[in-house]
Amino acid sequence: MFAPEFDYYRAGSVAEARELLDAHPDSTVLAGGHSLIPILKLRLAAPAALIDIGRIDALRGIASDGSTIRIGALTTHAEIAASDLLKGKAAALPEAAGQIGDPAVRNRGTIGGNVAHADPASDLPAVLACLGAAFVIEGADGERRVSAPDFFQGLMTTAVGEDEILTGVELSEAGDGEASAYSKFAHPASRYAVIGTAAKVGLSDGVCTSARVVVGGLVPAPVRAGAVEQALVGQAVTTELIAEASRKVGDSLDDDDLLGDVYASAGYRKASAHAWVRGALSAAVARAG
């Protein structure tokens, strides 16, 4: 398959990338290319120019100042999956990144591209929403930070403007007694998420002090399962409680929004979502306890 013709410019810095975006109408950012190149090959998009940000080293890497972890937009899924810092302080993220596609996809695909693309079947949007990430966007007015509910605006739509660059995401390190996990119903062929669930819990003496549960895959943009969270907080956590709370996930899913396809209908996804919520919660509780 051959993509339509386009021009190509390589940016050496974020400032240069923004200038190039500005100078070339109808241009699109290229990071790892693992969502964009398939789209170009299928001719679902035909930008006039690609602005390659893939060599901007400042956008790569994972670092913490002891409370906030910053992950550069170009950090690959493989690097995230292998990070000991993230495994210890934001476990759901490397767990999800390690389940994306296959090893070769993880070597090229980036966290920035994954969330900027905002495919509902992607894994990282739900995880980052659950971990309370801030999305750092650089635009004409400098840098701004956007939270997940404002960042993910719907099917493949985010807060990143046309001549803006997502430079990275920021997360708080898990505190004492806190842990997170990701549980995914992977499509058997593509490995994309049919249902993906991220959970973060805080435990003190066996009692749940905080809970955040976010589901993706079956909705256009990540959805917080408030009813599940409320059923947990303040309660002594048991296997039965987790199972019972997980069943409330349907309360947060709007039937009109649910996605379905030939592989898994919307109704089927909704009916089985609780199992993946339970999986993520059980794993997070085991880690926190």
């Binding site: 398959m1 051959f2 993509a3 339509p4 013709e5 386009f6 021009d7 190509y8 390589r10 290229l30 290319g33 693992h34 190149i37 398939p38 170009l40 090959k41 690609l50 390659d52 893939g54 493989a78 596609g101 296959d102 090893p103 070769a104 996809v105 070597n107 090229r108 062929a189 593509s190 490995r191």
Partner: protein
């Protein structure tokens, strides 16, 4: 628009002017004539186009040649040394890890990546590590045996 690229493949540098939309796999196969790298699905599913880009596996059907400008690449043609086949090639041969051979270049390079990250994988880890590569012929059993054999050979010092 044409862009000059300089890409080193199997130790040899190639300088060419390419269209930005040219896929790396077509650069390798059609521009340079290195046809060991295959195109199976052309949709990043099958892994038959797998190469090593700066030492790590990548699907060359989902990469532009311009993205690889300045990079060093190994294709199946570059894996063997003058002294003989690479241990993975020996193992695929000895364990009958192929039938028609179409998936084999990609399988071997994906196996190379697997053993780079995990030199002593379990059978389950081998199957997981190769989940981006499809084979229509073998039923995978002998591919798993071949990778296990190559891991053992490396451990025994044969590499």
């Amino acid at each position: 628009m044409k862009i000059p690229v300089s890409i080193t493949i199997n130790g040899r540098q190639y300088d060419r002017d390419v269209e930005p939309r040219l896929l790396l796999v077509h650069f390798i196969r059609d521009v340079l004539g290195l046809t060991g790298t295959k195109v199976g699905c052309d949709t990043s599913q099958c892994g038959s186009c797998t190469i090593l880009l700066e030492g790590v596996s990548a699907k060359s059907c989902t990469c532009l040649a311009v993205q690889a400008d300045g990079a060093s690449i190994t294709t199946i043609e570059g894996l063997a040394s003058h002294d003989g086949l690479h241990p993975l090639q020996e193992s695929f041969w000895n364990k009958h890890g192929l039938q028609c051979g179409f998936c084999t270049p990609g399988m071997i390079l994906a196996s190379h990546e697997l053993l780079r990250c995990n030199p002593n994988p379990s059978d389950a880890e081998i199957r997981h590590g190769l989940e981006g590569n499809l084979c229509r012929c073998t039923g995978y059993q002998n591919i798993v045996r071949a990778v296990r054999d190559a891991a053992g050979a490396a451990e025994g010092g044969a590499q």
